[in-house]
Symmetry: C2
Subunit: 258 residues, 2 copies
């Protein structure tokens, strides 16, 4: 079985053109099969502001009305995704941009109203990796934005962390799959203010303790839910940290274990 | 040799959501191998207006500064392309959205300043259909927006008619290729005000006469240049007309001949 790396990058890289360009140079050189998943960063909110579309959030999650979905589709699938693909080509990494609608790869359903109506937000139902595998075996790297569809013609805003974990799980049948969440910190931190306080390993048991102690809270909770979902569904390796963890052998980061 | 249809649709379909949805329903059912190429319609100008980015044109062609390129990338590669792919999936036509950067399929170079500076506008240098052929043989329909790249990381706004003809020429090595330009009229008209005055066949000789007579002028000139470029480079059939020409056996349209 060949190894496949699923790598998710977020706003801290997307929002900084120099950081993005540096990351993509290194990503392009990374040996072996790979898939890139990117979030949206702040540019969707910036465009919403320019277009006078109010940004509505609930507990850190975007409420996606019809105008907001248009903006997200334009920014995530349009500007960010296409720019990343063009930069990868410039670095001799042949790639193709994807939303979940492309190749019918990720099917989701609109989140039920219970009681918050998140609007056009999708919860993933199925992942079909067959087209992606065809491309990977032809040395083409898929680049995913955080948009899926319901196969009824409706696009749906979907959490990029969840897309990464569900893709990793989908690929686990065919590849020895590794999942990497790149973000602005060195990993899950014991003390959120101290980037040197990395918890290097978290398993199901210590995870519960860390939640009880309040060490893991807020935005880290859904990220770690995605991590454990992957590790419990045949994904071989799940790591959280700075992109260095991909490119340097001696990086300090968090590894998730069963 | 299998037959491949390259079908280009323009603003009259893109700008009208009912017309687009009706077209895509029929396109999805069209038998045989096919590629869709779409223009941008008016929505890029509408977004530019909302973002207070001035729309600059020269002889009907958009001058593409950096802000305008962002807008075009968001609208063409983001909203329109992704929406079309999602609608095709809803109609059971498996498809993948493409810009020329995806799969390194269309490489262009920034148009030289002579003397007008069109900005980030690309003239096509090479077309590589290998990835597209891989997808077509796996029953996946590529959907192209009018954006290419220079393999140095720069996206470039590119004429959709030219993308369609260059793709058709590129595919002619592998397929019996047919090129269809769908627009709002029944074909090239003898009298622009009379949709029944279709010139059903135009060849190189009659083309020159029609130019000399002033029957073919303005926007039809570059369209017909693309048509003759295709027919002179091994494309088997080139037609201009309403989308009916694809779906009805008895439609009246213009056929281009050597």
């Amino acid at each position: 079985m060949k190894t496949l790396k699923i790598i998710k990058i977020g706003g801290n890289i997307i929002d900084d053109s120099k950081a993005l360009s540096d990351f993509l140079k290194q990503f392009a050189k990374l040996e072996g099969l790979k898939v890139l998943v990117h979030g949206g960063g702040k540019s969707a909110s910036k465009l919403a502001d320019q277009m006078h579309v109010p940004v509505k959030m609930y507990k850190g999650r975007r409420i996606t009305d019809s105008d907001t979905l248009d903006i997200i589709t334009m920014v995530y699938a349009g500007k960010i995704n296409t720019t990343i693909v063009a930069q990868l080509q410039a670095n001799h990494c042949n790639s193709i941009g994807f939303s979940g609608a492309d190749g019918n790869t990720i099917i989701s359903e609109k989140r039920p109203v219970t009681p918050i109506d998140f609007g056009f937000v999708g919860d993933i139902k199925t992942v079909d990796t067959s087209v992606l595998e065809l491309l990977l075996t032809n040395n083409i790297t898929p680049v995913f934005c955080a948009i899926t569809h319901d196969v009824k013609g409706q696009l749906l805003n979907t959490n990029a962390d969840t897309i990464a974990s569900e893709l990793a799980i989908g690929f686990a049948k065919t590849f020895k799959t590794e999942l990497y969440y790149c973000f602005e910190k060195n990993g899950v931190l014991e003390n959120v203010a101290d980037d040197n306080s990395v918890i290097q390993q978290i398993n199901t048991e210590t995870y519960q303790t860390l939640i009880d102690q309040g060490v893991i809270a807020d935005g880290m909770l859904p990220k770690l839910t995605n991590c454990f979902n992957a590790i419990n569904h045949n994904v071989c390796k799940v790591c959280i940290g700075k992109p260095d963890m991909l490119f340097q052998s001696k990086s300090i980061h968090t590894t998730i274990q069963k």
